[in-house]
């Protein structure tokens, strides 16, 4: 086996390159794929789907305070359209219930 263990600077360089690679490659992969109606539909549903895919397991594995806070934030957002108010509500609900429970 080749020894590929490294110094902190080598590790830092590797992390930087890999992470930047993930950030920049998506746009260029799509550019390669060319433009089509197929791709437009794909992009359109992709953004929301990323957030859904990110959130659902967290909500499922979270405790009831977390779910309540998320539900309150969603309700405030749906009712007022004010995302700051919704976020503050969510954080406040969690903070208060954690204090009391």
């Amino acid at each position: 086996m080749v020894n590929l263990d490294g110094s902190p600077m080598a590790a830092l360089a590797a992390m930087t390159i890999v992470t930047y690679g993930t950030r920049i490659s998506g746009v260029f992969i799509m550019a390669r794929a060319g433009r089509s109606l197929w791709l437009e539909k794909f992009c359109h549903s992709l953004s929301g789907s990323v957030i859904v895919a990110l959130l659902v397991p967290v909500v499922v594995s979270g405790d009831w305070i977390f779910r309540l806070a998320m539900a309150m934030a969603a309700a405030v957002m749906a009712a007022t359209g004010n995302s700051l108010l919704a976020m503050v509500t969510g954080a406040a609900v969690a903070s208060l219930f954690r204090l009391w429970c």
Binding site: L4, D5, G6, P8, A10, A11, L12, A14, M15, T16, V18, T19, T22, R23, I24, G26, V27, F28, I29, M30, A31, R35, L37, W38, L39, E40, K41, F42, C43, H44, S45, L46, S47, G48, S49, V50, I51, V52, A53, L54, L55, V56, P57, V60, F66, A69, M70, A73, A74, M77, G81, S83, L84, A86, M87, G90, A91, A94, S95, R98
Partner: protein, 234 residues
């Protein structure tokens, strides 16, 4: 077809300011996590200069925390690269979704915009894009503010060891997921997204119960995208 691509794409300071205004509550939440990272990095034996440099260059919280587990005098580079890739591969999907917006810009400009791409500022930007925003400044400005908060937090935590943070007492650990749910509610008005979202939720749940890492985000997002192709509106 491709009406969107024909519209003019700009990148202005006003856009950057709008982005910063939209993201600041998230930046407030990022700061204590930066502090936590700085403290944890110190405990893992990383000197303050290196952890600051890491936050400035890598700018990816989950990947950086994962890297701490591997840190030693001889860091296993292959494991590190695989771990960082697994945690950050969702960036590829987010970058892909930016294609209709920034895909036509010259390559060097795309290269200058994407370093600050992360979950929260991407979500703010896609939400704005859905409402007709074409100024890429919003993505860059919101990303830069998050970057400043992350780096400043890391510096504080790394330099002042013994910093005790309890972000969960103030509910700050919830600000990120709560922020995502507000973006989702905003996007919920779009047509034809119900089926893709349900598909994304189911595939993500199934994947997360089977595979470690962040692969469920990619699997769910791709499944949602494909459901949109089969059933959705452009």
């Amino acid at each position: 077809m491709n009406r969107v691509l024909e519209q003019e794409v700009t990148c202005t300071l006003e856009g950057a300011a709008r982005g910063a205004r939209a993201i600041w509550p998230v930046a407030v939440a990022v700061l204590p996590f930066g502090i936590t990272f700085g403290v944890s990095a110190g405990e893992a034996g990383i000197d303050p200069g290196t952890s600051l440099l890491m936050s400035a260059l890598v700018f990816a919280g989950a990947a950086q925390f994962a890297a701490l587990d591997l840190w030693s005098s001889q860091i296993p580079l292959i494991s590190l690269v695989l771990t960082v890739f697994a945690v950050n591969a969702r960036n590829i999907i987010m970058g892909a979704s930016l294609f209709p917006w920034i895909g036509r810009l010259p390559g060097y400009r795309i290269a200058m915009i994407t370093p600050v791409l992360s979950d929260a500022n991407w979500a703010v930007s896609m939400d704005a894009y859905g409402n007709g925003e074409r100024d890429v400044g919003i993505l860059v400005g919101s990303g830069l503010l998050l970057w400043v908060a992350w780096v400043a937090g890391t510096g504080l935590g790394a330099c002042f060891t013994g910093f005790v943070m309890a972000p969960e007492r103030l509910g700050l650990d919830l600000l990120m997921p709560v922020f995502f749910i507000t973006v989702l509610v905003g996007m919920g008005k779009q047509k034809g997204i119900f089926l893709p979202w349900v598909t994304a939720a189911m595939v993500s749940l199934a994947t997360s119960s089977m595979v470690e890492g962040n692969w469920h985000i990619i699997a769910g997002a791709l499944a949602g995208g494909i459901a949109g192709v089969l059933h959705g509106k452009p």
